[in-house]
Subunit: 173 residues, 2 copies
């Protein structure tokens, strides 16, 4: 039953997970772009869709998903988090942002992130300062938040009628 | 920077994560129940809310979230997955289902799940048979699916006006 697969590590539980899900998200956005074109819906209608007046719209959900991917891997590796301008106004621009994030995340090697379980991570969320050890940061804050924004982006587009299904979210498994 | 925190393990990345998020979900459902009562909205309106005609409603999202928590921990530990009747028709019943799931998941000890990276996992999803090693099963299938259903439950209730925020989803960190 138990064979020679490598033990779970901080790298395995972060970088490749972000890469897989961001690739799935990019493919979902491509379908949304095609759907808008086909139905002659202005892209901005979908990009500004939201579930409640005080919830973030689609564009911001995608931006924050990429922020968690770059922020988490950078912090676990102990390098600066790249800043993006947050000025995307089209599906193409959002996909470029994802591509840029993928390039950043894919550059990490296991040795950069492995062993970061006990690394002290401090960050500001709104007006609160949050402090974590690396493992709790990844499992209890970064991954739940990352999945929240990817899922909400999916749900928004699903609610708008884009022809996507659960396997677009999960990807090839 | 790196101190004596225990290395990441299959147990740490599964059971306590499910427990934390299911507790958060139970608290969210409690707020939804109170909201329905206060506004004199029939519970079934919220329980049957969905984002698209061919997406699952709230009740099913919560059921599937618990299914991933019990199914994942059981499969990684190599024990039978408990079957539930899927007959919940109230917030109270859904919270009971979560409580039952928590009791099951909390009974696992690290030794039951640790070392399951290479365990062969086979399951049926719709009409497809899926085969994984334990690590890929957890990281690329079980956790993304679990978070999908917890987030969608949150989004549905948020769209219905329930007074919840991101910290209800993330919980105490």
């Amino acid at each position: 039953m138990k064979d020679s697969v490598m033990p779970l590590s901080m790298y395995q539980a972060s970088a490749p997970v972000f890469v897989a899900m961001l690739n799935n998200l990019a493919a979902i956005l491509e379908k949304a772009e095609a759907y808008a074109k086909e139905r002659k819906i202005d892209e901005s209608v979908l990009l500004n869709w939201r579930f409640a007046p005080d919830m973030f719209a689609l564009t911001r959900q995608v931006q924050i998903a990429t922020d968690f991917a770059k922020g988490t891997t950078a912090r676990l590796a102990g390098v600066d988090v790249p800043k993006y301008a947050d000025d995307e106004a089209s599906f193409a621009a959002l996909r470029q942002r994802i591509a840029k994030t993928l390039t950043f995340v894919e550059a990490f090697r296991p040795a950069d992130i492995d062993g970061s379980e006990g690394r002290d991570i401090t960050l500001t969320a709104g007006s609160r300062e949050l402090s974590f050890k690396g493992q709790a940061y990844l499992l209890r804050f970064a991954l739940p938040n990352f999945y929240f924004h990817v899922t909400t982006a999916y749900d928004l587009l699903r609610a708008c009628g884009v022809g996507i299904g659960k396997m677009d979210y999960i990807g090839a498994v």
